[in-house]
Subunit: 405 residues, 2 copies
């Protein structure tokens, strides 16, 4: 008799965004006349840059001929893309990353989840609270989270690092031993960033204790402050303790085109084994690479035209972020994020619960947000808004929210 | 101190195709003047069908506009593709599969590996011998295979089902209890197919014992015999015991374009839990869907033009298969497969070892094959040839092999 992985049955309810989708669908069915504005799920709305679609057209044409056809590519990604990443995302910022330390993939979500394959089940995992649910749920599925305690909204074996107003949404180093530390800067959901000094403290801690930092910098393109690091590898010592996840999703609008990458330096070893080799084996065995057409599109992100177009798109979203941030602040809400990040983290008024505030904004303002509680207990009393909407709709949403506050 | 998944260190040497690539690269470096013909790794060579590239161009154009842009799609795949699959791959053959029983993915390799996430680590796994290495290696990584015994080339906890000339390369039902049974028909590597009666015996066995059949039918498009089932779901009772993996890779040349799907009927439950729900949760948490452009390409495979073009390509490869099969048989080798399959399984001459025969063909005929021993102990004494080459090169390879035999 086949037995299931019973860790799945410990997962509470449905995935956050599914629950939001369910509530939105129910409301829309009751009120088909209301036009909703979505500032909830972090999906982009601007089209792919012209340089990217031109490169994809060219690649599709190649695939239509016997001479230009590409079958199985390297599981780790084509050299043309790995080289472009090493050059533009790292060397240009003074960081030496070799192309064979870069693994191109179909998404940072996949990589953040699948990375667990190379680690022992007994590692103690530390996560921020609030947190991107994928880090928690994938570790729960793998048996690293223990049991879910619904009374406190936490897993028994995870170590939570609260990110709250009192510490400026910057997690403190855990007092108890941890083995795997998920960090995300610019942060999803709070929009907070980490300074060089803060990251240096994490790196030193990890090197001292042997922990591995799993660093999600999917939103680095939104950093405007020149003092803020874009990569954990800008910090001395990170090559022996950190793995970095990056994505084209939010940079170049690839949420529906699927391309990302993970960086594992060759010096990073645990139990005498290079993690780069482990991940390479994992990817070669359970993954078959990213579509050739998509990799050519991603490569074009680094062309002069591509870079200019991406910059323009990022600025468009940053303008939205400012509209949301300034508008909600003017309406009396306490807001953070949105300056080096596409996410705005707003405190609910009068201590209202975050799902209640979500429902209020859905029903009264017809604006979809994300309730902070969905990201963890310390997200209670907050909502997350995203800057990925259309500019006019975003302005309109802020006006509507102001009216109902 | 972070600990690694030490199951990885139990994996012997490198992945089969990496070892082949290494030997081929070494030979090519020594003999840069020799033009090799590759009938080894199962990669296709014909271009994408014109209907597919036309659909991809159209989708890229959509992605270039704000109106036509597609961000995150459903993790399970777009309805347009799931509906087309249900209609053409199942209903057209008299099989009722609902669209929400179909999960579109980036590859059958990914799915065959990742499916282990939803099963308990203590399940006993049965695999054919010889076998596609991914089934074995992914279970070894997950801790289900025990220890690798290099003296016999087998893992201590796996149950091996020999597929040898004596049983017509058809595995026998294990005498000891097993929980998960990997079957692949048309088979990789032997090219054997399963009759309706043989599949019925597997389904009955699985329903009687509670085992789950993991059925890989990535090569079903090559079936020419109308009596041979294309899907496990053509067999009564399969809906309560089987998961099926399908791919566009070998059907429509998607090895470098990446699209596949997995079918999990809603009636399939273990431990009181529907496996469809478990896989849905797994995919929603650790996967973000297949590129919109690629899904539009896959949809076009089912258009009248797409179907005609795919049929032509399959016939092209089947002609190659006949050339290889007939040519090697005429040269005195014992061959099987290649009639309902792109794979030809040939016995080595004079009891030669399969890596030795691989090296001989590489060095003397300059033809790359796959040594049967790489697929498991019962593959010793065989080589696998694939029909995915160009027609002229395939004919030439067969002539070269004839000369050195």
């Amino acid at each position: 008799m086949a037995k299931i992985n019973n860790n799945f049955n410990k997962l509470p309810g449905s995935y956050l965004f599914s629950e939001i989708a369910r509530r939105v669908a129910a409301y829309s069915q009751e009120h088909p006349d209301r036009a909703l504005i979505r500032l909830g799920i972090g999906d982009v709305t601007r089209p792919l840059p012209a340089a990217v679609t031109a490169a994809m057209h060219k690649a599709v044409d190649e695939m239509a001929t016997a001479q230009g056809f590409h079958g199985y590519g390297p599981e780790q990604g084509y050299d043309f893309l790995r080289n472009a990443i090493a050059q533009h995302d790292y060397k240009a910022r003074g960081v030496e990353i070799q192309p064979d330390e870069i693994f191109v993939s179909d998404g940072a979500k996949s990589d953040c989840g699948n990375i667990g394959d190379i680690f022992h089940r007994d590692n103690v995992v530390a996560v921020c609270d609030p947190v991107y649910p994928v880090y928690v749920d994938t570790n729960a599925m793998a048996g690293r989270a223990g049991e879910y305690d619904a009374t406190v909204g936490r897993w028994t074996k995870l170590v939570y690092m609260p990110c709250v107003a009192e510490n400026g949404f910057s997690p403190e180093i855990p007092q108890t031993p941890v083995d795997l530390i998920y960090l995300c800067f610019p942060n999803n959901p709070t929009g907070a960033v980490a300074t060089r000094e803060q990251l240096k403290a994490w790196v030193d801690h990890a090197n001292r204790t042997g922990a591995v930092i799993l660093y999600d910098s999917a939103y680095e393109a939104f950093i405007t402050d020149p003092a803020i690091p874009h990569s954990i590898f800008e910090i001395d010592g990170a090559r022996t303790c950190a793995i970095e996840f990056r994505s084209f999703s939010k940079t170049a609008g690839f949420t529906g085109t699927r391309c990302a990458y993970t960086v594992i330096p060759k010096e990073l070893e645990r139990d005498g084994t290079p993690l780069n080799s482990l991940w390479n084996r994992r990817q070669c065995t359970k993954f078959n690479g990213v579509p050739y057409v998509v990799q050519r599109g991603a490569e074009a992100v680094y062309s002069p035209e591509g870079r200019a177009q991406v910059k323009e798109t990022i600025q468009y979203y940053l303008n939205n972020a400012k509209v949301i941030r300034d508008g909600l602040a003017a309406a009396g809400l306490t807001v953070s994020g949105g300056e080096n990040s596409p996410y705005i983290w707003a405190r609910t008024p009068d201590g209202m619960g975050s799902w209640d505030f979500f429902d209020k904004l859905l029903r009264e303002a017809n604006v979809v947000t994300t309730p902070g509680a969905g990201f963890g207990p310390s997200g209670e009393g907050y909502i997350r808004l995203t800057a990925f909407g259309e500019a006019d709709a975003t302005r309109q949403a802020v006006e509507r929210i102001k009216v109902v506050l």
